[in-house]
């Protein structure tokens, strides 16, 4: 019996599921996701919320983690996607036109609309790098948020009627149907994002991230790569925003503010920048899904009221978490988990 692992075909080596443990984990995860609706409506809504933000975080991880282009406008791009769906449906509905299923049909359109705006955001990146690019994207975020608040959605929220989310009699706006739709889309987009990282485009992005001058010398079209990075990240954000509209039966500008952009960036940093699928997933789980539980834990504690209320303490915790991870764990939670895996691989031996 030969020692080690021998793959006989290139496709076996490049496969996502290479070892028995991968297959077991994938089966367990698929089982868990399929059976989650049995656990009740609240775990389902937490899972859908996590899936929506996972898509947005993966987009940001592509732009910032993989290609190194700092973007503080991801939430505004989500908003572009969300309002593409919400405004169009609301406008057609109030004009009396039939809108059956339109909300779902518009999801890919929303992604493309956001990608178009993302391309516009790519223009400053041809000249600016690092902090200056961050400022430019910050300006875009603030400008788009202002437009949402005053022109697109001056009533603090647009409601999407249920018929727009119903296809063939199934209401995709609530319950298990919505869950399977959103989680399914998120899974497909995760697969795409994982493959981008392994493709020639992904390698070009990493080259541009590490040193764009050297990348240009080697022959990579830096401008095209940067533009694709922004467009791809924006497409993900647009789809995430559209799915958020499906989940919330509407869109409201308070979900797409600078605070949300910073939240998404924090999710990417804490989870692991550059690890598009798993880093984003860990970041979302920690900073979004578990975040809701903090409310239940903190409300009613007298110490919290002394410190200024639940909101203030949550900001405190958030700030401390992000600061710790940026300083001590630059690779994020993924780095932590990798060290755990290495330890377990040799356990009980230390080397």
């Amino acid at each position: 019996m030969p020692a080690g692992v021998f793959k006989e075909k290139y496709s076996e080596l490049m496969a996502h599921l290479r070892y028995p443990v991968h297959w077991a984990a994938a089966a367990a995860a698929a089982l868990f996701l399929l059976l989650l609706p049995l656990a009740g409506a609240y775990p389902v809504s937490v899972a859908v919320d996590a899936a929506v933000f996972l898509v947005a975080a993966m987009g940001l991880n592509l732009t910032t983690g993989l290609a190194g282009q700092i973007s503080l406008a991801q939430a505004a791009l989500m908003g572009v996607g969300a309002y593409t769906v919400a405004r169009t449906v609301a406008w057609l509905y109030s004009a009396g036109h039939p809108v059956a299923g339109l909300g779902l049909l518009l999801v890919p359109v929303a992604g493309l609309a956001a990608a178009a705006v993302g391309l516009a955001l790519a223009l400053p990146s041809f000249r600016l790098k690092g902090y200056y690019l961050a400022m430019a994207s910050l300006a875009a975020q603030v400008l788009l948020a202002y437009l949402f608040r005053t022109v697109v959605d001056p009533n603090q929220g647009i409601v999407v009627p249920e018929e727009a989310l119903t296809v063939a009699g199934v209401d995709f706006g609530s319950g298990p149907a919505m869950y399977y739709l959103v989680v399914g889309v998120a899974a497909v987009l995760a697969l795409v994002a994982a493959n981008v990282g392994r493709s020639s485009l992904g390698r070009a992005m990493k080259a541009v991230r590490d040193n764009d001058v050297s990348a240009a010398i080697v022959g990579i079209d830096v401008a095209r790569t940067k533009a694709l990075a922004f467009a791809l990240g924006a497409f993900y954000a647009g789809v995430a925003g559209a799915l958020y509209t499906v989940y919330n039966h509407g869109a409201s500008w308070d979900a797409f503010t600078l605070a949300t952009s910073i939240d998404l960036l924090a999710m990417v940093l804490v989870g692991g920048a550059g690890r598009v699928v798993w880093g984003s997933l860990l970041g979302v789980l920690l900073l979004r899904s578990l975040w809701g539980n903090l409310d239940a834990v903190l409300t009613g504690l007298p110490a919290v009221n002394m410190l200024g209320g639940v909101d203030a303490v949550k900001y405190l915790v958030f700030g401390l978490l992000v600061a710790y991870f940026v300083v001590e764990e630059p690779e994020g939670l993924i780095g932590v988990l990798r060290r755990v895996k290495e330890y377990l691989r040799l356990w009980p031996f230390s080397y």
């Binding site: 028995p20 077991a24 656990a39 009740g40 609240y42 009533n155 929220g157």
Partner: protein, 449 residues
């Protein structure tokens, strides 16, 4: 060296099995905690009682000794309306504590304990929807005491579908036809029409400038009705934008824009923090107009927040459907408010009273239903209890409100409001005024659907 490969295989199998077990354990954990939860923040009663917190209890002849209801409390303690939101939240919390101590009983004498779950949503409709999902799916609440206009309006069709009673601090006219939304006051549009009527009485043919945030649903709510009423009564109307979170510079900017129209009256449609800054700017620039603020824009703190200038005397006023609590502690209704404040160690003011009243309305609903209906239909039972006031016995919160009637499809309890004027030394209540000639609720509901 086959034995090594087998060891790798065995270890891999173990890890895989562990992953599967962990996944199943998580699912089991979700299933176990479903329907439970709910923080007990009121004083817990002795352990010997039967509780029926969730779905239908035993539908037998035996009455439960006590029912525990989960109630959601959504407040703004950190957002742009927190200036009025924080004292309101104090009033609601004190009311829960007070009523739990004194005891709430259904019509057939079964005691009901109110277990409230508080969430601060910072005036964000998206967070409100998240917390609504939590209230409905995690805690299975029977009723929600809510806050803001935008989120209450956006949730109104959902709560009707989910059959959860919703009592809001938003008195928007768009909520009046909604089946599960209630509030113990005339709606914003009716109140604003009363204010416009008062203005026309004081000075016929006057010029009115509307100062409000053009991007906030609550501020925009009564505007179509005001314009309709003003047109009917012959007042000239102009619009100026004043942000909800206004700085002194924003307020001065708005006042300067308003002064170009030479107004006799200024309507302020925001909460007290921006309206008081606008009044301060009015005194600074010597603008000789009378500001009338909406119910959330004017209370006991206004003269002090507006800088305390003597120029404000006779020039600032507000709408209020009820008399303010100061000096009224001996009157029925107000007595309970003062008792609850003493119990909670807080001071009584208008916002505290408003928070108290919203919880009291919920208690009135429980007192009008019997235990069996309450346990079976929960939110629907409470809604029917409130609507029984339409043809039956009206609801009164002591002497604070006139007799209130909630009719199906028209949850407008009463239509009169006072205009409270600051005369430099104290607050004078003029009225009550009931607007007529224009159906202000209808105008608001038909404007820009």
């Amino acid at each position: 060296m086959g034995w090594r490969w087998e060891k790798v295989r065995a270890r891999t199998g173990l890890i895989a099995a562990a992953v599967v077990i962990v996944a199943l354990a998580l699912v089991a954990g979700f299933l176990a905690t479903r329907g439970g939860g709910g923080k007990t923040t009121a004083t817990s009663p002795p352990a010997t009682h039967t509780t029926a917190a969730g779905s239908t209890g035993g539908g037998g002849a035996a009455k439960p000794k006590e029912i525990t209801l989960n109630i959601g409390l959504m407040v703004d303690k950190s957002g742009p309306t927190s200036g009025v939101g924080r004292p309101y939240a104090e009033g609601a919390e004190a009311a829960f504590k007070y009523f739990n101590e004194k005891g709430v009983y259904t019509r057939d004498g079964v005691r009901v304990k109110l277990n409230y779950i508080e969430r601060d949503y910072g005036y964000n409709p998206t967070r409100a929807k998240q917390y609504y999902n939590e209230f409905r799916d995690q805690y299975h609440v029977a009723a929600i005491v809510g806050w803001g206009t935008a989120d209450t309006e956006q949730l109104s069709s959902q709560v009707a579908k989910d059959k959860i009673l919703y009592i809001s601090a938003s008195y928007s006219a768009k909520l009046v036809p909604q089946p599960y939304n209630f509030f113990p006051a005339p709606d914003y549009s009716t109140q604003a029409c009363a204010a416009v009527t008062w203005m026309a009485q004081k000075k016929p043919g006057a010029t009115l400038v509307l100062m409000y945030d053009h991007t906030v649903a609550y501020s925009k709510s009564p505007i179509p009705a005001i314009k309709a009423m003003a047109e009917k009564l012959g007042l000239k109307v102009y619009d100026v934008n004043l942000p909800l979170r206004a700085s002194d510079a924003d307020a001065e900017n708005a006042v300067q824009q308003a002064s170009q129209y030479k107004p006799d009256f200024i309507w302020c449609g925001n909460t007290i923090s921006s309206c008081s800054r606008a009044a301060k700017a009015m005194a600074k620039y010597g603008l000789n107009a009378v500001m009338v603020a909406n119910v959330w824009g004017f209370d006991e703190r206004f003269p002090q927040l507006a800088g305390g200038s003597s120029q404000l005397a006779g020039h600032v006023a507000g709408v209020s459907p009820w008399r303010w609590p100061e000096g009224m502690q001996d009157k029925p209704g107000y007595r309970e408010v003062f008792e609850a404040a003493k119990m909670a160690g807080k001071k009584v003011n208008l916002r505290f009273m408003q928070g108290f009243m919203n919880v009291w309305l919920l208690v009135k609903a429980i007192e009008r239903t019997d235990s069996k209906t309450l346990m079976e239909k929960k939110g629907e039972a409470l809604k029917e209890a409130l609507e029984s006031s339409c043809n039956g016995q009206p609801i009164k919160l002591g002497d604070i409100t006139p007799p209130m009637r909630y009719c199906p499809g028209n949850h407008l309890p009463f239509r009169s409001s006072y205009i409270v004027v600051w005369d430099g030394k104290s607050f004078k209540f003029e009225g009550p005024i009931t607007p007529s000639g224009v159906d202000c609720v209808k105008v608001t509901n038909e404007a820009e659907k």
